[in-house]
């Protein structure tokens, strides 16, 4: 375990080399939030639509924009890099679990983003656009838990893509496709409660909602305490399902790698 935490620390300090880009990230987040804020102000105005006010949507947008920086999206391109350079072979020889290494390495990045991007962005956005407090204390703790689910699911999906790239050999295409699905079904721009019923029911069956909609909706209290259990149960279900899937793909990928000699 200590070894894996070392990877986290290392990834964190590697990122420090890019701290000159912090301003850029802050500016980028600011623009992204600004665009969404103006859109919600334009369509909702001072009233409310389906019981949702503009301030709620502003908070929703802020949470989603910042959450996106924390997600472990870099996993698949990291695997792709070592697959292309052939470095994967030496990664596999090491006496450690490759997926765990990837996870902890990714967490180091997320930690960095939390400290240097998300936290200051939150401050700026709160100052400029205002941010609502969490609905209740229970919802706040549930929100924190949902963040952890979001990290794990984003990791597993990224890892899944990188394993599929062992067969398709086109990581670029796979991650674009996944990106398209995430754009729609994570609800990170348009919350699922605004979806037409048929689309909403599909979105609520998929894992992507945990990477945007679920944490923000919990924070705002738009998921009631009784529904919380259901949402979490399904999230854990997805994690287990994805774990089984990637484990199965992983053993096959390693076998493939051994057969082809890297």
């Amino acid at each position: 375990m200590r070894m894996y935490l070392m990877f986290t620390m290392k990834a964190f300090s590697n990122q420090l080399a890019y701290r000159s880009e912090v301003w850029l990230r802050l500016l980028g987040n600011f623009v992204t939030i600004l665009i969404q804020v103006e859109i919600w102000r334009a369509v909702i105005g001072n009233g409310s639509v389906a019981g949702i006010k503009a301030e709620q949507m502003i908070t929703y947008s802020i949470i989603n924009t910042l959450l996106f920086a924390l997600l472990l999206n870099g996993v698949s391109s990291k695997v792709d890099g070592s697959l292309k350079s052939g470095g994967i072979a030496s990664e596999l020889i090491k006496p450690l679990s490759y997926p765990l290494y990837l996870l902890f390495d990714g967490l180091g990045n997320s930690l960095y983003q939390l400290a240097f991007t998300a936290a200051p962005s939150l401050l700026i956005a709160g100052l400029f656009f205002g941010i609502l407090p969490p609905a209740t204390l229970t919802h706040f703790f549930a929100f924190l838990l949902a963040l952890i689910l979001a990290l794990i699911i984003s990791f597993l999906l990224g890892y899944l893509i990188s394993l599929l790239a062992f067969w398709f050999m086109n990581h670029f295409a796979l991650s674009w496709m996944m990106g398209g699905l995430i754009t729609i079904f994570s609800g990170s721009f348009l919350p699922i409660w605004f979806f037409p019923p048929s689309w909403a029911s599909v979105a609520k069956m998929l894992p992507f909602q945990y990477m945007g909609y679920v944490p923000a909706a919990i924070y705002l209290g738009n998921i009631t305490e009784t529904e919380l259990w259901q949402v979490f149960a399904m999230g854990v279900g997805w994690i287990v399902g994805l774990l089984v899937l990637v484990q199965w793909l992983w053993t096959r990928a390693v076998r493939r790698l051994v057969v082809q000699g890297g």
Partner: protein
């Protein structure tokens, strides 16, 4: 640099892509899915709210498609070429351009002509045609000509701005952050400009003329008068592109001269 030589280059570039045919097709397919995602989100949005600042779904689709189509057109002649320029200058591969009997700028952009934007073109072109037919507008020939002119102009605006950013590589500073800033600004013009404050509108009209890529053309075509510009300015819009591109080209050549050390 003749059109004939450009044709020859395109044939070679195509042949090069076909070496990895399956990869190319899979990538194009994936990009179409990704952009379909963008379109679907906006469509879902309008399903709920009917309009954004008074713009209906086909109108927004027209606006967004002009933006994406012109970007693909302009970027195929500039983005990757200009992004790579910094490392080309650093590694000295840029010198190879200067030993050929050709205009270095025209050769650089044509040699790097990016067929990878075919997916962007396909999806935005299709939605563009669909939105025009859906809008049921009584267009005369002049509107169609106008559309063609603004598409060309929009592509030139993109290519001009990207060229200016690329040329900064000659003056020895990192250009990466400027590209990132550009893409953030570009995010604005996916939506009708009036939803943003006057500052943003002025920024995108005067400082970085991205509003002329899709917003003003679409607004004029839809006779939507909620713009900073009066109706008579309609036919000025297609002039912005050539102007922008010319400025980009001049600045690039100035940068290249500076690199050579001529009078610098």
């Amino acid at each position: 640099m003749t059109l004939q030589l450009f044709g020859k280059l395109v044939r070679l570039l195509l042949k090069e892509r076909m070496e990895y045919r399956a990869d190319f097709i899979l990538s194009a397919f994936a990009q179409i899915i990704a952009y379909a995602g963008d379109y679907i989100v906006i469509w879902l949005f309008i399903q709920r709210f009917n309009t954004i600042a008074g713009w209906t779904w086909p109108e927004i689709a027209l606006l967004y498609s002009i933006g994406l189509f012109t970007y693909a057109l302009g970027a195929s002649f500039s983005f990757v070429q200009m992004r790579e320029l910094e490392s080309q200058v650093k590694q000295g591969t840029f010198d190879i351009l200067l030993i050929k009997p050709v205009n270095p700028y025209l050769y650089l952009v044509s040699r790097g002509f990016n067929l990878g934007y075919i997916a962007h073109i396909l999806i935005s072109g299709s939605v563009l045609i669909w939105s025009i037919s859906k809008l049921n507008m009584q267009w005369t020939l002049s509107e169609y000509i106008y559309l063609i002119l603004v598409v060309v102009s929009g592509a030139m605006i993109y290519a001009g701005i990207l060229t200016i950013i690329g040329a900064v590589s000659f003056i020895w500073i990192r250009t990466n952050f400027m590209f990132t800033l550009f893409f953030r600004l570009k995010d604005f013009i996916a939506y009708p400009l009036p939803i943003f404050g006057t500052f943003i509108q002025l920024l995108l009209t005067v400082a970085v003329p991205l509003a002329f890529v899709s917003f003003y053309p679409a607004a004029f075509l839809l006779s939507n008068d909620a713009t900073l510009l009066p109706q008579w300015a309609m036919w000025m819009v297609p002039l912005i592109g050539p102007l922008c591109y010319w400025a980009g080209y001049r600045f690039w050549m100035y940068g290249a001269n500076k690199y050579q050390g001529a009078g610098g």
